[in-house]
Amino acid sequence: MNKTVNPNDLTLEDDNGPLYAARKKVYPQSISGTFRRIKWGLMAFCLGVYYFLPFVRWNRGLGAPSQAVLIDLPNSRFYFFFIELWPQEVYYFTGLLIVAAVALFLMNSVGGRIWCGYLCPQTVWTDLFYAVERLIEGDRRERMKKDKSSDPMRLERISEIVLKHSIWLLIAWWTGGAWVLYFNDAPTLVKELVTFQAPMIAYIWIGILTATTYVLAGFMREQVCTYMCPWPRIQAALTDEWALNVTYRYDRGEKRTSVKKAAELRALGQQVGDCVDCYQCVAVCPTGIDIRNGPQLECIQCGLCIDACDNVMTKIGRPKRLIGYDNDINIQRRQDGKAPVYKIVRARTVVYSAIIAAIGGFMIYTLATRSLLDVNVLHDRNPVAVRLSDGSIRNAYTVRLLNKSGYDRVVAIDANGPANLTIHVVGVDSVTPDRPMIVIPRDSTSELRLLVTAPAEGNPEKSIPVRFHVTDIGLGEAASATDNFVSP
């Protein structure tokens, strides 16, 4: 590797070539085929979910939001269909993020960067923007010709450009609009937006996301994937030789010749490659690369070149999948005359799946068994303990009761620990003085000041644990918390 370069061997190009390469605009050609159909389907699904999910309703009873998916920032609540999360349960999102990351690893170890090619928002919206462009300005050749043309612009061309950007902006605006709907009641906000009654922050966010969508999908496009996104760099460390990446099977394709010449040579019984050098794989590529140069950083594994090549192979009567999801091991095996092997189940994929199953399972378990009643206790720090005039000792606690359910509760508070203790909640005259009853409104917390008093006799002069039990007297649900009772 450490070959010494003789300056005299450097060509003029090496000498003067700038480190910065200007972007070569990509004009992907339309294509039809299996992977294009999968991409259309996933695009429709992803965009459909994104744009329409905020309008799905979910009945949670009176006074609660009726939106199925809602991030309620002012009230610190997250609603997802039947799930309602409080800020202190944010660890569910941590779990979700871990599962998402490992799922990305799993995808990568199975099929390379298929996330990039099919599901990444950048790909989905860029694909949509290309579709609009193609519809208005025509396919690859026409667009190239129109861009190159040095003729003065005619009304027709100007109207094309204006129309394209208008539709792009409309999509971008709708993208930003849908985003803010996740943070507020969608039908109400739509009404407010239309009548210009919505809060300024909604317009600002729509503006930001309109701009990012328009710029990223309309202009930056494949440059985001090639230069801005860290994932292509990270995934290189996560892939292995068994991952099925979009691969040109050079064992079958080389040497490249024309259709005619190949037929002639085959008639003579000679070995000829299937690739006819038609450049269809390059024409359809959304990142503008030639897959026949082997795996490349720019490749997003979308499989459109597979569709393009399959169409050509069908036309010239050769077997399909000259380009396919494959790996170098199989190319080697074919060259050695062995059958290809596809190892989807291997240590890497099994471990990833196990992690996903374990964390996902744990999350579902904790979510299903979580209590909708909770209690937190905080001991007074100053003073930690108070001696009363009769010599008994009192400790004060701040008790926070959490009612996560959709109905009001009446709970009873008990404490045990020090001998002969009595409890009192400040401001509450309970009919049962030894066992204060507290009403906690639905979906809220109540903070109480609770005093525990115990005689000095019969209690050791050190810290002893005290346990607080909170019981819903109607439903029997219970929660408890432990703190300490100390002497002055």
Binding site: P7, L10, D15, N16, D380, R381, N382, P383, V386, R387, L388, S389, D390, G391, R394, A396, V426, G427, D429, S446, E447, R449, L451
Partner: protein
């Protein structure tokens, strides 16, 4: 200095800076123009900032800038807005009776929050940030009150104080029996031991309870009552309980009896608005000792 522009590096074809270290020359790669322009713009920006905003410290003040901006004025506006927002709630607090405030969870929470802040600003220097008190400054968490522990009594004490000079202040003090020559040395020691015996504390050898009772009856019962149970009208503490403002050891009691005690609680009426005083009364009452 040589004209480095003529010194062309043979490999890259670029000019060098003319600096050479052990045969290695540095290529002349000037900063990009946009970078340089941005740099000059930041200087222009800084100068404009000095002019527009307060910037330079002077001997007694500072330059005020073109529009007289000050962050303190911003805070004043924010605080005024806050008062406006809280206005209704504080009015409700001022209108409600003390007992009603403690019954209403929302008002109680507001009063406790407000009371806690105001307590920290005004009361904590003597009573401690948690109201735990110190020698001579009562613990507000316990159930022993010199001037009474009901909501109304607490509020009255906060409003007018004790020996504060206010016309409605609590008056009455522990007389200096020794200094004023009312009791002699050995009588004071006997009285101190008698007071200790009232709450079951040990007494010194040779202490005569009958003599102590006689001294107590002649000098102390007027304020502290027959059994030494104290009198909240006069701020006379209960001498039979476990709580001692200055201390229960013999030396401290001798000091108290001979020198007298007259701690001062300032009057807060006029210094704090009525709603705030109410909030503080509720806060102190809710610390736990309130009757």
């Amino acid at each position: 200095m040589t004209d480095h522009h003529s010194d062309i590096d043979s490999v890259t074809g670029k000019s060098t800076t003319g600096h050479e270290w052990d045969g290695i020359k540095e290529l002349n790669t000037p900063l990009p123009r946009w970078w340089v322009i941005t740099f000059y713009l930041t200087i222009v920006w800084a100068i404009a900032y000095w002019v527009v905003y307060p910037a330079w410290p002077l001997i007694s003040s500072n330059t005020t800038g073109m529009f007289g901006y000050s962050s303190r004025a911003d805070v004043a506006v924010e605080l005024a807005n806050l008062d406006k927002i809280r206005g209704d709630k504080m009015v409700a607090l001022g209108a409600a009776s003390l007992a009603d405030i403690e019954k209403d969870p929302a008002l109680l929470a507001l009063a406790r929050a407000k009371g806690k802040t105001v307590f920290g600003d005004n009361c904590a220097p003597c009573h401690g940030s948690g109201g735990a008190g110190a020698k001579g400054f009562p613990n507000l968490n316990d159930d022993d009150w010199l001037w009474g522990g009901t909501l109304d009594q607490i509020m009255q004490t906060i409003q007018f104080g004790a020996r504060s000079g206010h016309a409605k202040a609590h008056e009455g003090q522990m007389l200096a029996f020794g200094k004023d020559g009312v009791l002699k040395g050995d009588e004071i020691v006997t009285a101190a031991n008698y007071v200790r015996s009232l709450s079951g504390l040990s007494t010194r050898n040779g202490f005569d309870p009958a003599k102590g009772q006689k001294i107590f009856a002649e000098n102390c019962v007027a304020c502290h009552g027959d059994g030494g149970k104290g009198n909240q009208e006069m701020g006379a503490p209960d001498l039979t309980d476990k709580i001692w403002l200055y201390g229960s050891d013999e030396a401290t009691l001798i000091e108290t009896i001979s020198q007298g005690r007259a701690g001062v609680m300032p009057a807060w009426e006029g210094r704090l608005d009525p709603a705030t005083i109410k909030a503080m009364a509720v806060y102190v009452h809710s610390l736990g000792g309130g009757k």
